[in-house]
């Protein structure tokens, strides 16, 4: 259990820091990649044109979060399935 307690403590500290930052600054919590785009614009004086565009873009933020959620769900199902399978097998055999 000791490891679980440490991990939960780390996550709680992380959540606390987030609450502190979001409560005390006007941080927007945008993506780091978007900020990098801003730096590129600054470095090149706004002259940089991306050499390619995404083939397909999620039409809205909602659809994008759906697809991210789907990615998480798929992964989590696989992880849970195998851990559950092995745990059950260990217990019955």
């Amino acid at each position: 259990m000791r490891l679980e307690i440490i991990v939960v403590a780390i996550i709680l500290i992380f959540a606390g820091l987030f609450l502190y930052v979001s409560g005390n600054t006007d941080a927007e919590f945008g993506g780091a990649d978007g900020e990098a785009e801003g730096v590129i614009e600054e470095l090149t004086g706004g002259t940089y044109e991306p050499i390619a565009d995404p083939l397909w873009e999620p039409p809205s933020g909602e659809i994008e979060s759906l697809l991210f959620g789907l990615q998480i769900a798929l992964g989590a199902i696989i992880i849970g399935y195998f851990f559950g399978y092995y745990m059950g097998r260990n217990q019955s055999g």
Binding site: R2, L3, E4, I6, V7, I10, I11, F14, L17, F18, V21, S22, T25, A27, E28, F29, G30, G31, A32, D33, E35, A36, E37, V39, I40, E42, L43, T44, Y48, P50, I51, A52, D53, P54, L55, W56, E57, P58, E64, L67, F68, G69, Q71, I72, L74, G75, A76, I77, I78, I79, F82, F83, Y85, Y86, M87, N90
Partner: protein, 231 residues
């Protein structure tokens, strides 16, 4: 966060592809051999891939006031080595580039190089060295996954800095600017990734410790020592 589509001009995107492709090819070869020799390994491989899937979709807020996501590659790197991890990372990066407009096809080479290759190499190396030094197993896993995650974003910053040197300041000047965004934002997220990876390893030891000996991740003696410590 990966480098966005179109944001690496030539010759840089080609250079990163040239460096990444041989590793991916070698990884596919190793993957085939591993699965052929040992079909029982497949579920663990699926779990390692799924772990990258989950963690790289979690966009978390950082103390810098912006968001980024962990990589999840430390687990696979410790279990299967960097080359196979490069293949798993490529699959995830392709999914995100095609369906989420996150990352991109022209920047795929650079993103595979940072997330699929350098991060896993760092994680793998730290794991091997840490275990040689006889440090606590979970501490070693934590350090390996944390620093592997962080190295990924240091390399991302470097890739962008090389393509967009500052004037004045050169590559070092723009590296500082990009690292302020990527590497600093990543510090707390990397720590979270390290902690969760250590926890996953605890459960793998509980349910399938035989796999870890077969993959040469841990010796029998080391496993019984760890099991003795938690029970």
């Amino acid at each position: 966060m990966h480098i966005m589509e179109g944001f690496l001009p030539g010759p840089w995107w080609q250079i990163w592809f040239a460096l990444s492709i041989p590793v991916i090819v070698y990884g596919i070869y190793k993957l085939n051999r591993l699965v052929k020799e040992n079909r029982e390994i497949l579920p663990l491989l699926a779990v390692a891939g799924a772990f990258i899937f989950v963690l790289s979709a979690l966009k978390l807020p950082s103390v810098t006031g912006s968001c980024s996501h962990p990589t999840g590659t430390g687990l696979a790197a410790i279990l299967f080595g960097p080359a196979i991890t490069a293949v798993l990372g490529t699959i995830v990066l392709l999914y995100q580039a095609l369906f989420l407009a996150h990352g991109g096809l022209t920047t795929l080479g650079a993103n595979v190089f940072s997330m699929g290759i350098v991060g896993p190499v760092v994680a793998y190396t730290i794991y091997k060295v840490g275990m040689k030094m006889n440090l606590n197993f979970y501490l070693v896993v934590f350090l390996a996954a944390t620093l592997g995650d962080w190295a990924t974003y240091v390399v991302t910053s470097l890739e962008l800095a090389l393509a967009f040197p500052a004037d004045p300041g050169g590559v070092m000047g723009s590296f500082k600017a990009f690292a302020t965004i990527f590497a600093v934002t990543q510090v707390p997220l990397a720590i979270i990734e390290g902690a969760i990876t250590a926890l996953i390893f605890k459960y793998i030891i509980q349910v399938r410790s035989d796999m870890l000996t077969r993959l040469n991740v841990l010796s029998d003696a080391a496993i019984s020592k760890i099991k003795g410590a938690i029970s």
